[in-house]
């Protein structure tokens, strides 16, 4: 969930109400709140008007920066910790094509590796 969505939910405010106060289209507020449009991608004036309408500092609406892989300004542990928080526990779930193609049980999937690879050349998965 984005920070904007969290504020709206905590205060029980609708997109339309914020949009009216901020003189924006409700769709704009919705897209920012759902994360469909990243708040970093819109004009500062737009964010400022929403912040003003909600009476919060502008910085409260900005999403935390995601550390990039290999960012030398952070330790490895700090990079990975931030990445787990921001990437694996993403606040804004989006639709994604499922890998599940059908509901029926798949007897091949239930085979253990030994059965599955019967008659195939030995594959050494246990490299030390």
């Amino acid at each position: 969930m984005t920070r904007l969505a969290s504020i709206l939910e905590a205060r029980n405010i609708t997109y339309t109400a914020v949009a009216q106060h901020a003189r924006l289209q409700p769709r704009t507020v919705r897209q920012l709140a759902t994360g469909e449009t990243p708040i970093d991608n819109v004009a500062v004036g737009t964010v400022r008007r929403i912040a003003s309408a909600l009476s919060v500092p502008l910085a409260d609406l900005l999403e935390p920066d995601l550390p990039f892989p290999g960012d030398g300004s952070l330790s490895r542990g700090a990079r990975l910790s931030a990445a787990i928080r921001e990437v694996m526990w993403s606040a804004t779930p989006v639709p994604y094509p499922s890998p599940v193609e059908r509901d029926e049980p798949d007897e091949i999937a239930s085979l253990d590796g030994e059965d599955f690879f019967t008659d195939m050349p030995v594959i050494d998965a246990r490299r030390g």
Binding site: I84, M88, S90, P97, V100, E101, D103, F117, D119, A125
Partner: protein, 248 residues
């Protein structure tokens, strides 16, 4: 259903690269500028859910590179990773590429079934490694038990998505590895890779019926189990089905 203790093992930052390593990486996707695969139904911005803000690098002729920062699983076989060293190829002439599969976590997505978003998608099938295109990765209560320099955080249940395989450099994987898969679960990874690339499924009834009137030009025995034998049949029009026959 596999649990974390059976699936993950800690790694030392000095350990050699291995199949099953899980790392935080920059993954690049080339696409037509503004392209939105797999379609507006899923994500109008064409984003990978684990990382909602890809960096975009424009290319000539209406193309671009979208770069996603996300966790990924190394699927290149360990023997292949070692092969050039074993052949005494000098390090500067190593092929630096490793194949990785992006990791998609449950909190990042709403899974959409082939029939549309209204259909419920069960994670039970993913947990059982039923789909050919995914490898289930169970939740971890505290990742610091695997990587002591990382904060004590939970890791959500997730899956490695074999549909998103791409290549990255060895150096990038080395820099931000979190943990790796156990040797036992690597066998499951290899089984999923074999299924994904070579062996989709047994043919459904209507596919077998569609063979009527065609000439079978190839029959490749795949696997015997008990008194049953699976055979891949190729028709003269190039289509192929896998059937199971019972030995008499």
């Amino acid at each position: 259903m596999p649990v974390a203790a059976e699936v993950y093992r800690p790694i030392n930052v000095m350990d050699e690269l291995s199949s099953g390593d899980i790392a935080y990486l920059s993954l690049a996707r080339t696409r037509l500028a503004g392209e939105t695969p797999p379609g507006d139904e899923f994500d109008p911005a064409g984003r990978i859910p684990a990382y909602p803000r890809p960096a975009l690098v424009p290319l000539p002729h209406g193309r671009e590179v979208a770069i996603d920062a996300m966790f990924a699983l190394v699927v290149t076989h360990s023997c292949e990773i070692d092969r050039q060293r074993n052949l005494e190829v000098t390090a500067e002439h190593f092929d630096c590429r490793l194949t990785v599969a992006p990791i998609v976590s449950e909190p990042a997505v709403r899974l959409v079934a082939p029939g549309g978003e209204g259909r419920t998608v069960s994670w039970a099938a993913i947990e059982a490694n039923g789909p050919v295109a995914s490898l289930y990765l169970p939740p971890i209560d505290d990742v610091s038990t695997l990587a002591p320099d990382v904060d004590p955080l939970p890791w959500p249940r997730s899956f490695a998505d074999l549909r998103g395989l791409t290549t990255v450099s060895r150096g990038m994987v080395l820099a931000d590895r979190l943990c790796s898969l156990t040797p036992e679960y690597l066998v499951t990874l290899q089984r999923q890779l074999a299924r994904f690339f070579t062996w989709r499924d047994l043919a459904r009834h209507e596919l077998v019926e569609a063979l009527v009137g065609r000439r079978v030009v190839g029959a490749i025995p795949l696997n015997a189990r008990g008194d049953r034998l699976r055979v891949a049949l190729t028709a003269d029009d190039g289509s192929s089905v896998t059937v199971e026959v019972r030995a008499r």
